[in-house]
């Protein structure tokens, strides 16, 4: 199968089979949410817990993270060291450059050998470009793995922001997990309205945080490894403002060539509307599931896992699109499956 003279007798299609989607790469948790939603409080609470030890936090401005300045020790002008092996790093030019510098510093022993990165995005950020940063080896995909995209939404203002701000809708729609904050400050009924609005946008699991306190695994675990109880409905979510979320299940394994071609067609014709596609694919040439992740026109490097996480060996993908429904995509995969032999 492989053209490499060094492939060996049983060459895996995508390099060494991995125990988990991130392989050896550093996990990155991206936290989005509007100004005042409670991102900083959430991150600060995480850093105070043992599970949050050895975390590097990347922010746009130090002020945002709201860390007690007395605890800080300057490491370089862009990095400060916190307790518990944590550090905080300010984005000076762009995120990619900041993370690359952090990775190198870590290897040199110049900063503590942190085990994960939490990126706090600025309130209005479209998460799409951040997701693409981790897609290719040429960017950061060789060293970092986008583990989870967390959207923080506050109960008093969340529903209003979702209704009026396209960025807020996109943050919620693309998220792997959604944290609702400040429900204690909401007027009666506001939280329910917000939850209903979120359900229309996203199948991601939703949990509440009080003063930033939430089970750390909800923020830190790879959603692929620990799928939460299905908020994910079997049916497509409502087409609020054109955003569509639906699962796609394929019963039969596909040859990689067929899967790749189907995605190539989708990307070529509707890449801009393919906001996020993520999940396991059963590939005929592979023993374990292949983890795929596309963000618009960019596909992350596929990773083959050593084993399926459970007895269900069907392809399971979640599509988040702008205006593309399930039916044509199902038909596309059915067609390439039939032709791809």
């Amino acid at each position: 199968m492989s053209l490499s003279p060094f492939a060996g007798a049983e060459a895996p299609l995508f390099g060494t089979r991995q125990r988990r989607a991130r392989g050896p790469r550093l996990p990155v948790i991206v936290v989005t949410g509007f100004l005042g939603a409670g991102k900083t409080t959430l991150i600060r609470a995480l850093l105070d817990r043992p599970e949050g030890a050895n975390t590097a936090v990347v922010v746009n401005e130090f002020g945002e993270i709201g860390i007690d300045q007395a605890l800080l020790r300057a490491s370089s002008d862009a990095t400060v060291l916190l307790g518990q092996g944590c550090l905080c790093c300010e984005v000076r030019s762009d995120l990619q450059e900041t993370l690359r510098a952090l990775f190198i510093e870590r290897g040199r022993g110049a900063v503590p050998s942190f085990v994960r990165v939490v990126v706090e995005t600025s309130g209005l950020a479209d998460p799409g470009p951040v997701l693409q940063t981790f897609a290719t080896d040429r960017a950061l995909g060789g060293e970092f793995h986008l583990q989870a995209l967390i959207a923080v939404v506050d109960a008093p203002n969340g529903a209003r922001n979702l209704a009026s701000m396209p960025e807020a809708r996109k943050q919620a729609a693309l998220a792997d997990r959604i944290v609702v904050t400040k429900s204690d400050l909401a007027e009666p009924g506001e939280t329910e309205v917000l939850l209903a609005a979120l359900r229309e946008l996203s199948a991601a699991p939703v949990r509440f945080a009080t003063n930033g306190e939430i089970a750390p695994d909800f923020l830190l675990d790879d959603p692929l490894e620990r799928p939460d109880p299905p908020a994910a409905a079997a049916e497509p979510h409502a087409h609020t403002h054109g955003l569509v979320t639906f699962p796609l299940i394929l019963d039969a394994p596909l040859p990689w060539r067929a899967f790749e071609q189907a995605m190539a067609v989708l990307v070529a014709l509707r890449g801009a509307d393919l906001l996020r596609v993520k999940g396991f694919v059963a590939i005929r040439e592979c023993r374990g599931p292949v983890v795929v992740h596309y963000v618009q026109h960019v596909g992350h490097r596929p990773v083959e896992l050593i084993d399926w996480p459970d007895a269900d060996h069907r392809s399971r993908l979640v599509f988040i699109t702008r205006g593309i429904g399930r039916e044509p995509i199902e038909q596309l995969f059915a067609a390439v499956g039939a032709l791809g032999g």
């Binding site: 060094f6 060996g8 390099g15 060494t16 040199r108 050998s113």
Partner: protein, 405 residues
């Protein structure tokens, strides 16, 4: 003082071996008759000979046996076990001293190793055995001097010897080889010496033989580079190829591990000088498709010299996990585990052999009373459970780890 730096390993335990935590490059697993998993460790230097540790529970290693060396002017830096037989290499500080050779022990009761035999390699110009390979229970492949061979240069006092130990009470040499020109009486000219202090000798270090190619021996030949021997006729080993990259590189080729299915060879140097004096000492990935013409295609990346050179002691390559061909040992043809003294233990994924990628590291904090002020990670072994054992050369003893990648 640097903190422990750890990435994609999980440390399970450290055992400083009750004050004698200086371990050499002999590490071997025995499954005792009662089911205990015993790790045999060779000490780097006198006064200790070897130590046995029960690692059945790698979170709680327990010291079960320890032996002293008979003399202070010797070391037993290398050992191997096969079944209930332990082979230990004895090298003296200077030529002409005793005991120089190897000793076989019956370790059927790990608490009470009993001598089976001693194979004497002492001679006026021999320091005995530096390293031995014992994997099949039948032959010991080793780097040793001998009474009937005189090196032209005292630094070349060891050569490749094959010893039949099928009858462990009476080991018998059945074959030998040295780099032509290194011994008195050779018709070949003596090899050009490496300059000044970089002259560390034309002699083998590791001498690996694998069941996949029982007709080949893979030798790290120190200043002679890498040597592949045809040992189909053990009485008459023949050189297949030699890859010599020094100078300009500094010398001291240490270990050669073939990744047979992938036509690759992984080759390590040994860093032998502190403070970067012999930098760079590397782990090389070599294209082994044509064994007559090995071609280096990559090296495993390391953090820059300046970040480690002032930590104390040595910084550079040394031992590799050798895909030890025995039950209860791990095997991978994609992952390289290598030790780098104060650079710790590092793991590389060589799925793409042109671009080895670091996937894990473990650089322990300096052990208490480390004479160099830094850890000096010396050797590594991995068992079939995926438990990684690594050792400090001076005081830190044994570290047990899980691979988390």
């Amino acid at each position: 003082m640097a903190d422990t730096a750890i990435w994609n390993f999980r440390q399970l335990a450290q055992h400083t071996l009750d004050g004698f935590g200086g371990i050499g490059e002999g590490m071997s697993i025995q499954i005792a008759k009662d089911g205990r998993r015993i790790l045999w460790l060779a000490h780097e230097s006198a006064p200790k000979n070897f130590t046995a540790v029960d690692v059945s529970d790698p979170r709680n290693p327990k010291l079960v046996a320890r032996a002293d060396l008979p003399q202070m002017h010797m070391r037993s830096n290398s050992l191997e076990t096969v079944g209930d037989i332990l082979a230990v290499a004895y090298q003296t500080k200077d030529p002409g001293l005793q005991p120089a050779g190897f000793e076989l022990f019956d370790i059927s009761t790990p608490e009470n190793p009993k001598r089976i035999s001693f194979f004497d390699c002492s001679a006026p110009h021999s320091r005995g055995v530096h390293q031995l390979w014992f994997a099949d229970g039948e032959y010991i492949h080793m780097s040793s001097g001998a009474p009937d061979v005189t090196p032209r240069n005292p630094r070349d006092d060891q050569f490749y010897r094959i010893i039949d130990v099928k009858n462990p009470s009476k080991p018998v040499e059945i074959g030998r080889w040295w780099l032509p020109g290194t011994m008195e009486g050779d018709s070949a000219p003596a090899p050009a010496r490496h300059p000044g202090v970089s002259d560390t000798g034309f002699r083998p270090h590791n001498t690996n033989v694998y069941p996949e190619r029982p007709d080949r021996a893979y030798l790290g030949y120190i200043d002679g580079g890498m040597v592949i021997l045809d040992i189909a006729d053990k009485a008459h080993p023949k050189m297949v190829s030699r890859w010599d990259y020094h100078p300009p590189y500094y010398g001291f080729t240490h270990t050669v591990v073939p990744f047979f299915e992938r036509n690759l060879l992984v080759v390590s140097d040994e860093c032998t000088r502190a403070e970067g004096a012999d930098w760079p000492k590397l782990v090389w990935i070599v294209d082994g498709r044509s064994e007559e013409n090995p071609v280096p295609i990559a090296t495993c990346p390391l953090p820059p010299l300046e970040d480690f050179v002032r930590r104390g002691g040595r910084y550079g390559a040394h031992n590799l996990y050798e895909n030890v061909p025995k039950p209860n040992n791990w095997k991978s043809d994609h992952i390289v585990l290598a030790t780098f003294f104060n650079g710790g233990l590092r793991a590389y994924d060589i799925s793409n052999p042109y671009q080895p990628k670091e996937v894990a590291y473990f650089v322990p904090a300096p052990p208490e009373q480390a004479p160099t002020g830094a850890v000096q990670i010396n050797d590594v072994l991995v068992d079939e459970r995926g438990i990684v054992y690594t050792v400090d050369r001076h005081v830190g003893g044994l570290y047990t780890l899980e691979m988390d990648f």
